[in-house]
């Protein structure tokens, strides 16, 4: 399906965001879901790059426009910086499972780098369900923390950490979480796999009973469950390891079920 580009803003040399219009995409969009963007704009038929890229839904406005954030890391995301207002993206979605939305709880969101994207829509949804939301947001440097106006009304409290100390606390985002005096009932996290693993460990060290949902990332060939290229190793209750498709059974998983040591 086609989605019209309403706005495309490059934040700095590492990140950009886009607002696109598609009623159809919005209709199936929820916090945690993602969509695929084709490297072919408008009616282009070029075959290189070939494979679609996955992006998390960051926010929805007025049931017809979607915000997504892109980190400029490769050919397709570099191409995205050149997209003009009025261009059409070819998109597939919304895809995958959504976050479970709790009610009237004390909630922590832990985001790393581009992992902030799904936390925006999630934080807003959680707050509208009576939860108190603290957003712990980490990045390598100041550049990795996107402007707070994009974060909108997604949190009650915001705490920032950067690895080089250029903004907020110097160090890893898990340090903020562990140092917090709040007693959280639920944790949601999205970011690099190493960070997710550390957050799951940190949360279970605080209290085994805290529910934690993670948004996993994997290179996807199709996004619809056909190519079997994005498997995430999970552990069932009886201890058996089951590979689950990140695109269909995920990207949202119960953090306690992920076998991080099996992930490459």
């Amino acid at each position: 399906m086609k989605a019209k580009v309403i706005k495309n803003i490059q934040i700095n040399d590492k990140y950009g965001y886009m607002v696109i219009e598609s009623k159809e995409l919005c209709a199936s969009s929820e916090a945690g879901k993602f969509f695929m963007v084709s490297p072919r704009l408008n009616n282009e038929t070029n075959s290189d790059p070939l494979i679609n890229r996955a992006f998390a839904i960051a926010d929805i406005f007025d049931d017809d426009t979607i915000l997504f954030i892109y980190q400029i890391v490769g050919r397709v995301t570099s191409m995205l910086t050149t997209v003009q207002e009025g261009d059409y993206l070819n998109v597939v979605g919304a895809l995958g499972k959504r976050f479970t939305i709790c009610e009237s709880k004390n909630v922590a969101l832990v985001a790393g780098g581009a992992g902030i994207a799904p936390m925006i829509i999630l934080g807003k949804k959680l707050r509208s369900n009576g939860n108190k939301v603290t957003l712990f947001y980490g990045g390598a440097s100041k550049k990795d923390i996107i402007p707070t106006e994009i974060l909108s009304t997604s949190y009650d409290n915001l705490e920032i950490a950067t690895f080089d100390g250029s903004l907020g606390l110097k160090g890893l985002v898990t340090k903020l979480l562990l140092a917090s005096s709040e007693k959280f009932d639920n944790v949601y996290t999205c970011g690099p796999t190493g960070m997710l693993s550390a957050v799951v460990k940190a949360v279970s060290s605080i209290d085994e009973n805290i529910d934690i949902e993670v948004s996993m990332e994997a290179k996807m060939g199709c996004g619809v469950g056909a190519c079997l290229g994005c498997l995430i190793p999970t552990i069932d209750k009886d201890g058996t390891v089951v590979n689950r498709r990140c695109c269909v059974e995920g990207p949202i998983f119960d953090g306690k079920t992920i076998s991080f040591e099996r992930l490459v």
Binding site: S38, I51, C227
Partner: protein
């Protein structure tokens, strides 16, 4: 086969306009010459949300084996220039679960179901072939003797014309009810030798090409990107190789030819038919757009109208005769 002819008859009685895309091979009527290729379309059910499966000529199901198979470790896929390199390792639910859980839903659609199958041994090939041959709702069988990604995944059966001859001969004997397609590997010196033996041993059709064995290296980790080290290359990058081999098939065998390899558009499909294909399969394009096969079918019709072709046979092999 009867079921098939019946529902297609019904389908065509809707109006008197001739369906120029219709094509019959091996006694099976296809409403259009577009089949979604094995391994790129799951069990078909994954795509119901994105398209009307009734509009497809056929669906080639992901390679089915006697027992469930877990497949290779990750990473299993990597994009290369105009292509996709994969080493999934023939992960599948096994024939029992396919027949019990997937096929009943697939059967409700008015499209041809072609089940791709393989075995780790001749005995496994025979067992799974026999089960599928006697399963209602399966319209054709596509025998995979050419998967490059697992040690015993059939590549040994396509390593020489003699080995190919032996396995096709044995499988042919247990398939009594449905047409047998043999899917060939491009990873051989002279595909004509293989085409000849497959036809001689009684295959009803050939499909080609499977993926080309390739590799990608991570220059920062100093190792192959794929856990399996090598993988099968698909996508537009392999189209010229595929077209050459379809052309060689056209000049070598009389049985129907199912061509594939990098088809992304209706014009690509037309190229394969002009090179000698009766029908084509669409693979990697399903990943870039889940409704690609239907778009390709529509674009092929537009191409045919623009050239005043009234049937596939009007231009099949026209470029190479």
């Amino acid at each position: 086969m009867n079921k098939n002819n019946d529902h297609n008859k019904n389908n065509n009685s809707d109006n008197n306009v001739k369906n120029i895309l219709e094509k019959v091979i091996c006694g099976i009527k296809f409403k259009n010459p577009i089949i979604t290729a094995s391994g790129t379309f799951g069990y078909g059910l994954e795509f119901i949300r994105f398209m009307d499966l009734n509009l497809l000529g056929g669906i080639a199901i992901k390679g089915i084996s006697l027992e469930p198979v877990e497949g290779n470790p990750m990473p299993r896929i990597v994009e290369t220039s105009s292509g996709l390199l994969n080493a999934i390792g023939l992960q599948n639910v096994g024939v029992k679960a396919f027949v019990a859980e997937k096929l009943p839903i697939l059967k409700s659609f008015d499209t041809n179901i072609i089940v791709n199958f393989w075995g780790k041994s001749i005995d496994e090939y025979l067992k799974v072939a026999e089960i599928l041959d006697n399963t209602d709702g399966v319209d054709m069988l596509e025998m995979n003797i050419s998967c490059p990604n697992i040690k015993d995944g059939g590549i040994s059966f396509s390593s020489s014309p003699i080995a190919t001859s032996e396995i096709v001969n044995k499988v042919r004997k247990v398939i009594r009810n449905k047409p047998l397609i043999v899917k060939l590997s491009p990873n051989v010196t002279d595909i004509k030798e293989y085409l000849k033996v497959v036809e001689q041993e009684g295959a009803d059709s050939v499909s080609l090409i499977n993926t080309l064995i390739g590799m990608a290296i991570d220059i920062h980790k100093f190792k192959p990107v794929l856990a399996n080290k090598t993988g099968g290359l698909s996508g537009p990058a392999i189209k010229p190789v595929a077209l050459r081999m379809v052309y060689e098939a056209f000049s070598t065998v009389k049985i129907p030819i199912i061509g594939m390899g990098g088809i992304m558009t209706g014009n690509d499909a037309a190229e394969f038919i002009l090179a000698g294909a009766d029908i084509v399969q669409v693979g990697t394009a399903n990943f870039t757009d889940p409704s690609a096969a239907i778009n390709i079918s529509n674009e092929l019709r537009d191409y045919m109208i623009s050239k005043s072709f009234n049937s596939i046979d009007d231009f099949r092999g026209k470029a190479v005769i």
